[in-house]
């Protein structure tokens, strides 16, 4: 499978004549944990069609009317869900993700923080072999405003529209979307890549996912120091002549080197991972970089006419 063939909107929203159009079934793994249960309630309130939960050892029970199964196999058999939000603690993540991928889940939203690198690589490879994608780990999740949210983001900053937001950071995704909404740029999709060194879907793949989507007016990439994903993305945009307007933001310009700034992935070694390196590559790709989240809508308005 090449990632550009992956029909993310088809899976999240569906087609108009689907019986579950706008109501795609979603399961939550780790639904009985404090985090999982709180956010299940919030996602449901937003309109996400949460049809089942999975917690080993608690099969047969229910959470606020949502049936709980002992494993993904049972949950999928009962609901035909293709989307799972994983809320289990990091040490249990590998098993939970394998269980999901073995049983037909195609979009795995991996919320937990502190997942070991080795486990993240394993799941990424495994997802590929199953023609599925993992979003995260250490992601706030994804939201198609007014239709579906799978994750821990608050609802208020987001509004339906034609801008796409990809972000390496959670709260910055909310902050940037809030600024977009305030300036009249609603969002078609906001997706957290994850704050870890390994991303199931990296920035380039995220762009591949929406490359041929209609109704996309512009794409905002919210990055931060560490790694070279922004540099790679810039190169990709140049190489593939990406045609939609792109605007970027990079957090951590003022951060010291060789210190992990909250996210495991946010660390600069020498010039590797530095904001300067990213900004200079973006400028080659003709991607303006905002100095503050507030500047982003202004930069979009200059690109979209």
């Amino acid at each position: 499978m090449t990632i550009s063939d992956f029909d993310i909107f088809g899976l999240l929203i569906g087609k108009e004549n689907d019986s579950d159009y706008l109501k795609k079934p979603v399961i939550i793994q780790g639904i009985t944990g404090s985090y999982g249960s709180t956010h299940t309630r919030l996602m449901k309130a937003y309109g996400t069609n949460i049809v089942a939960g999975v917690t080993p050892g608690k099969g047969g029970q229910n959470y606020e009317g949502i049936p709980i199964y002992a494993n993904v196999s049972d949950a999928v058999r009962a609901t035909e869900a293709r989307i799972s939000g994983i809320f289990v603690p990091a040490p249990y993540f590998l098993d939970a993700a394998k269980d999901a991928l073995d049983n037909g889940i195609k979009i795995l939203v991996a919320i937990p923080e502190h997942v070991p690198i080795k486990d993240a690589i394993r799941v990424t490879e495994y997802a590929k072999s199953k023609k599925a994608i993992m979003i995260g780990p250490n992601t706030p999740g994804l939201i198609v405003p007014d239709i579906i949210k799978i994750g821990i983001m608050p609802a208020q900053p987001f509004k339906a529209g034609k801008t796409i937001v990809f972000s390496r950071s959670g709260t910055l995704m909310y902050e940037v979307s809030f600024n977009l909404t305030r300036s009249g740029y609603g969002q078609k999709l906001c997706l957290g890549i994850g704050g870890d060194p390994i991303n199931g879907i990296n920035l380039i793949e995220a762009f591949e996912l929406i490359r041929s989507s209609n109704d996309v007016e512009s794409v905002v990439v919210v990055g931060e120091i560490g790694g070279d994903s922004e540099e790679q993305l810039a190169e990709y945009l140049i190489r593939t002549k990406f045609s939609k307007p792109v605007v970027a933001y990079i957090a951590g310009r003022a951060a010291p080197k060789e210190r992990t700034m909250g996210h495991a992935g946010a660390i600069v070694y020498g010039n590797y991972g530095s904001a300067e390196s990213k900004i200079s590559m973006y400028s080659k790709a003709n991607v303006p970089v905002a100095r503050t989240p507030k500047e982003i809508p202004e930069l979009i308005s200059q690109k979209v006419r």
Binding site: L172, D196, I198, N199, A251, R253, A254, K294
Partner: protein, 372 residues
């Protein structure tokens, strides 16, 4: 977690990787005894996590006991890139014929481990042209792949055998201990053609530590960072006077940028994660109160689900319990922000609806402080 050289070498030894004989010391007398035991000449190596130790003068050769005395005293108190050494490694001087470079690292973009080997080791590895790079599967480096590399960089037959042994063991170490990086520079070819690791730079995946309790002893975090960690915060101590607090690493980094654009000097970075409750904010302020150089606090909370009156309560409590006595600027958007502002009237805290306004408030205070 970046290990010190001697710690990395302890792991090397565990995996049967050949390293020079060495003794870790912290006192001059120990250094002299160690040198006598190992036999001259020896090398004194300051144990620092910063790179470029050779260039910075943190590695010194000693031919006599007098050299040891002079060099030890020089190294033990020498701050390099803001870091004092945590011990000195006294090491035998190896008989080097040739220096190689090898690094096994996590390639984030490819999402796999990669191996770089260069036939020219040395100080400026970035500038070296001739090198071999291969991607590794999760099971690590095979004998066959190692043999291929040895051939490509032109190692003679007995060196190649030693190289295969070394590189496959290093790969086992990376796999076994879940390292993000294991770099050896220089990797020495000795006069007899065998291979020896003269340095060790190892970074362990912190998130995998739960599977490696024996590595916990290498954790070097300050008392304060430990206290922060217990609360689920991430704290980075910096050099300035302004504490920057917020929910979410990206947001706090972004705030750090804006504060420094406004001429401010950050004294710490504190991300208290997703949960903005009265307790977490209070605990965060408590951690901040332990950092003496902090005289301004800047809070950036992205709300939505934040109850602003709970945040205001925490700030009020912190003032009333004399935990803090400094000006505090807070951007708090969310429900009931008028009520929160009212609660903090008469204190040194100022609340703003947008981060831009909060930054303006901060920069006014910074310029007043500078005038004084």
């Amino acid at each position: 977690m970046r290990l010190l050289e001697y710690q990395g070498k302890e792991l090397f030894d565990k995996y049967g990787i050949r390293i020079p004989k060495a003794i870790l010391v912290t006192k001059l007398q120990e250094a002299e005894e160690a040198a006598a035991k190992l036999g001259y000449p020896v090398v004194l190596k300051a144990q620092l996590t910063v790179g470029g130790r050779g260039k910075a003068g943190a590695i010194l050769k000693c031919k006599t006991a007098t050299d040891v005395e002079i060099n030890f005293n020089q190294l033990i108190s020498k701050e390099i890139k803001g870091e004092l050494p945590r011990g000195i490694l006294v090491e035998e001087l190896a008989n080097i014929e040739k220096e190689l470079y090898l690094s096994l690292f996590l390639d984030r973009t490819k999402r796999c481990y990669s191996l770089i080997v260069s036939a020219d080791g040395g100080v400026d590895i970035e500038k070296v042209g001739k090198k071999v790079i291969i991607d590794l599967p999760l099971d690590g480096l095979s004998d066959l792949a190692a043999e291929e590399i040895a051939r490509k960089i032109g190692l003679s037959s007995n060196t190649a055998v030693s190289f295969i042994d070394f590189s496959t063991k290093l790969s086992e170490l990376v796999k076994g201990e879940e390292a993000e990086l294991a770099e050896v520079n220089p990797l020495a070819v000795l006069h007899d053609g065998s291979i020896m690791a003269l340095d060790a730079k190892v970074i362990i995946d912190n998130n995998a530590l739960f599977r490696h309790p024996d590595l916990k002893k290498y954790e070097q975090i300050s008392q304060l960072e430990m206290q922060a960690e217990k609360n689920g915060f991430s704290l980075v101590e910096l050099n300035g006077n302004i504490a920057i607090i917020g929910n979410g690493a990206g947001l706090v980094m972004s705030t750090l940028d804006m504060v420094s654009d406004a001429g401010g000097n950050a004294g710490c970075f504190l991300d208290f994660g997703g949960r903005a409750t009265t307790e977490t904010i209070y605990e965060a302020l408590k951690v901040i109160s332990e950092i003496k150089k902090i005289n301004i606090i800047f809070v950036n909370l992205f709300g939505g689900i934040v109850r602003t009156n709970l945040v205001a309560q925490a700030i009020l409590d912190a003032y009333q319990h004399n935990l803090i006595d400094t000006p505090l600027f807070a951007r708090i958007s969310g429900a009931e922000s008028d009520k929160a502002k009212e609660m903090l009237r008469g204190t040194k805290a100022k609340l703003y609806d947008t981060v831009e306004d909060a930054i303006i408030g901060l920069s006014q205070t910074i310029s007043i402080m500078k005038e004084k």
